[in-house]
Symmetry: C3
Subunit: 407 residues, 3 copies
């Protein structure tokens, strides 16, 4: 599975973590590998083995200067391509420098994120044309948070729609299926009908999964979401609202980076939206200052408040709703023993994604490269939710219809 | 050995940890297993696998409501018997709910403690009729503290009487055997004669062990204590004083729960006795607020005070004498390498208990169930200490004589 | 390799850690073994197995009194030779005491340090006649700091001279080889010529390694340093300055004790020199109060200051220059995977020391004892640096010439 992931571009840092040419190098742990990233004098991003190939000094302590990262132990200097461009402690006439290279991975910057490719040199993939990348920076928020569990547990939260009506609900929400919706917000559909019927379809980019709920006597409420190879998710919102994307690259087997994206296709985010995201009142958790680690975490039981749980919030975990997801996915144990699960009809998308990932991993073993890795254009899809007459069936075309019908 | 322990009722929580119907669920780790306990709306205590059988969400975050614990991930709800009594994210007509059960262990409440049975369903044991259970709640104190070592190391402190004259002594106590006792308290006997002679006898409940010391020219001072299957201990006191019981179920191989019981057979505990127990001035250590973890612990060398050790206390560890025991038993290493020991005559009870436990474990492998597990009445014994004429030998009947002779 | 090290005297504590007869016992972890040290009533130092042979109680909690360390569990008492000299919980007539011994290692005190011998009884080695031991206590400073890496990584910093011109340099130091030295301090030679030529020679005590740099048109600047079996280093200084010695015994495979010695052969250290050493402004790091653990450490990235790194210090790590070494050697990973290294000509001494250690370890397997272990006099060597005419070649005799030429 690691080989499969290394066929794709992988998000590794926020652009703001390397804010300017020659800014300080930063540590990167991704796909179980320890690396160091730096932005050189000309603005290019290097991603190198964290240890100098000479005697394994840690390049995190290095000097980022004059188009290269210089190890402070003996002054060896490397460019973004991993070439040793200076070796001042060896005689000037030595040819040793020419023989030294360090591991360096190609990087690209897109959509507020620094991406890297950690796979075989001759199989450089296409960058995925993710929906939000079309919008200018003003229209988006991109955050990053460390998750203390296997990446796939965190993905399962994105593709399992029936949990929304419970984990993120308020106490007292009616659970009677089919009762009429009186609220003005579409989120109410997910709270009123707790038993959505799920539909899945394999696509060139991954899995289209749709969730159908009773709305009124003549309509269903539909959410059309996407899981995109190898660890991305689109999360729909009601008309006019912002949209969500999660990128969840494995940091290693037991921890995950979540890149939390919120964006609007047509307008800049408002100050209020940005503030809510930055302070943990929206989908992004409140972080410990200067870190990507949530203040509410496993060590403090995600700050559960049992009185609040009794009276108002279904979980008793307030602030960002994403902390509710973290509480569940991180405490299943770092890697769930799946032989103990009991999957139901609500897990139809979980099952579909697991099957597809397993199939693609096996195909790769047989020499078949994953199609999506080389066709960035297949990622040009949008998620959407809305009402449709009861006789409109699940179809790949429905998202387009729903979008077209919007005011 | 784990199988043998699972043939008995095991103390898992203080009753006060589940104070009322529908109070918050609590985590339980016992015999290496992670569980969650809750008291349902009708007051019954449930003890379930800590992870929901659906997708392994942690039921600690669950809602305890309307006679069941509801997982906050998808709303699945379980009763104290482990039945899935609600599955609101699946279609109402689904029969999936009937197929789902989770691990649930029988529980009982007795003597201020919640007990559980973790063994085979068809071998439900009898509750041990421990001496202190006859007394009303007013007559007892029950505390709980985490020990950072194997359960058996902590038991050895209970059944090894010769350590009392050292570990719990004061500096300057004479060590001349047979010197006359002038103090009014019987504890002085243990301080004056540091070389008790130990006697052991196997019994239906475990091991009777007695410790004989020189008192005066015509009397011996005797302590008759009990070790009771599988990890309980009675600790005698002088006439009129409170009595002690320790229950020491393994939390896992390297940690132990100590239930520390202090009680009086004939009268309520006084306010002063309760305060001393609650504040760490008696047998119970002072705990970190809101936890069962001792303030004095391995991480701070049990707050040893070398000046105090030189001038007054044999160990330099003040406060609860039980912290002195913890200091010794927890720093032997989490599980002692017993091949390095050198046992003497003072270890006669340690040897007897080990032999009995090993024999019972082997018998169980051969299909012989432990007798005490099904005969709660064999636990009806009391410990006692006092003076007897020198010609009265060690006997099972002596405790009765000593008790009868009391004013 | 562990067997080889156990053929030598090993530094284990500062003398000041056992300041007086009957002072409190202290824990010692050395060569992977857990021990307890104490100074008995007559001033002799005992170094015993940390656990009492009776039931493995930790002797750290013991009472140091009347020429022995007494276990507080049952009062067994041991002298510095490991004999059980009191066993008060066993009958006076028992012969059990005579059968009990505990592990005890011989110790010696020399040069402000308590040394121990952990090898076979019949092969007691000679104490190394280290240069600094000839000087009175007034002339020396001896400190101790814990390193979080394998001992050999920390030694490599001592025997790799080319790192000095980088790791310990200031920003803007010219790197043009051969440019004339205008500064008055000899340290400037190391900053100006960054490409020293290294020379090595095997000796009876270990490896003599010398580093030659361009000084002026007719002179070279030479540093003659020593690595001494099995883990000591001499570090030269300019004429009139103090000299450095590092003793680096393995605490275990992944941690090391560094004994940091600074001394002057001819005069007492000044108050200013002592203050700089004690407060972390010189070679000794600033320690957390009451510990041997550096305030700047792996957990806080050695307090690197990126602005300082840009403007002044090559590393951005200020205070003791030794913290710069710790930053590099401790973050290579606890034990470097040497198959990933790329050694150059600057690593000539690293290569020579590794070869010698490996050869001596193999010889020991074949029954050949290490010569230096039994010939303390071979350690009587001094390091030196200075200018020599360009036609004077590397030789074992050069240090003597350089010393003789000093004013």
């Amino acid at each position: 599975m690691g080989e499969l992931m290394r066929r794709f571009w992988v998000p590794v840092l926020l652009q703001e973590e390397l804010p300017a040419p020659d800014s300080p190098p930063v540590r990167v742990r991704i796909l179980g590998e320890d690396l160091v990233a730096f932005r050189d004098s000309s603005g290019r991003v290097g991603l190198l083995d964290s240890h100098c190939p000479h005697r394994l000094a840690d390049l995190f302590f290095g000097r980022n200067e004059e188009c290269g990262l210089r190890c402070v132990y003996h002054g060896w200097k490397f460019d973004v391509e991993g070439n040793c461009v200076d070796m001042p402690n060896e005689p000037a006439e030595s040819s040793f420098k020419q023989k030294i290279r360090t591991t360096a991975y190609p990087t690209e910057e897109r959509g507020g994120i620094i991406w890297a490719y950690l796979g075989p040199k001759d199989l450089l993939p296409a960058m995925p044309d993710l929906d939000y990348m079309q919008a200018p920076a003003s229209h988006r928020f991109v955050g990053k948070v460390l998750l203390e569990c296997n990446y796939f547990q965190s993905i399962e939260g994105d593709i399992d729609n029936s949990h929304v009506g419970f984990l993120h609900s308020l106490v007292g929400t009616t659970t009677v299926p089919g009762s009429p919706v009186t609220s003005s917000t579409q989120l109410q559909y997910q709270m009123r009908d707790k038993t959505p019927r799920g539909f899945v379809k394999e696509t060139p980019y991954g899995i289209l999964h749709a969730w159908r709920r009773n709305a009124d006597l003549s309509h269903y409420h539909w959410r059309y979401n996407h899981w995109l190879m190898p660890f991305y998710s689109h999360v729909a919102g009601p008309p006019g609202s912002t949209l969500g994307i999660f990128l969840r690259p494995p940091r290693d087997d037991e921890t995950t980076w979540a890149f939390v994206i919120r964006w609007h296709p047509e307008r800049p985010l408002t100050d209020r939206e940005r503030t809510a995201l930055a302070t943990g009142e929206s989908v992004m958790p409140s972080l410990k200052s200067g870190t990507h680690f949530s203040k509410a975490n496993r060590g403090n039981d995600f700050l559960i408040d049992r009185a609040l749980q009794r009276s108002y919030s279904f979980t008793g975990i307030s602030g960002s709703i994403y902390v509710q997801d973290m509480a569940i996915t991180e405490t299943m144990t770092p890697i769930v023993d799946r032989s103990r699960e009991h999957l139901g009809t609500s897990d139809v998308a979980v099952i579909a994604v697991r099957r597809m990932l397993r199939r693609l991993a096996r195909e790769l073993q047989d020499g078949i490269e994953p199609h999506a890795a080389h066709h960035g254009e297949v990622y040009r899809v949008r998620c959407v939710e809305g009402l449709l007459p009861r006789d409109v069936p699940f179809s790949e075309d429905a998202p387009r219809q729903l979008l077209a019908a919007r005011p």
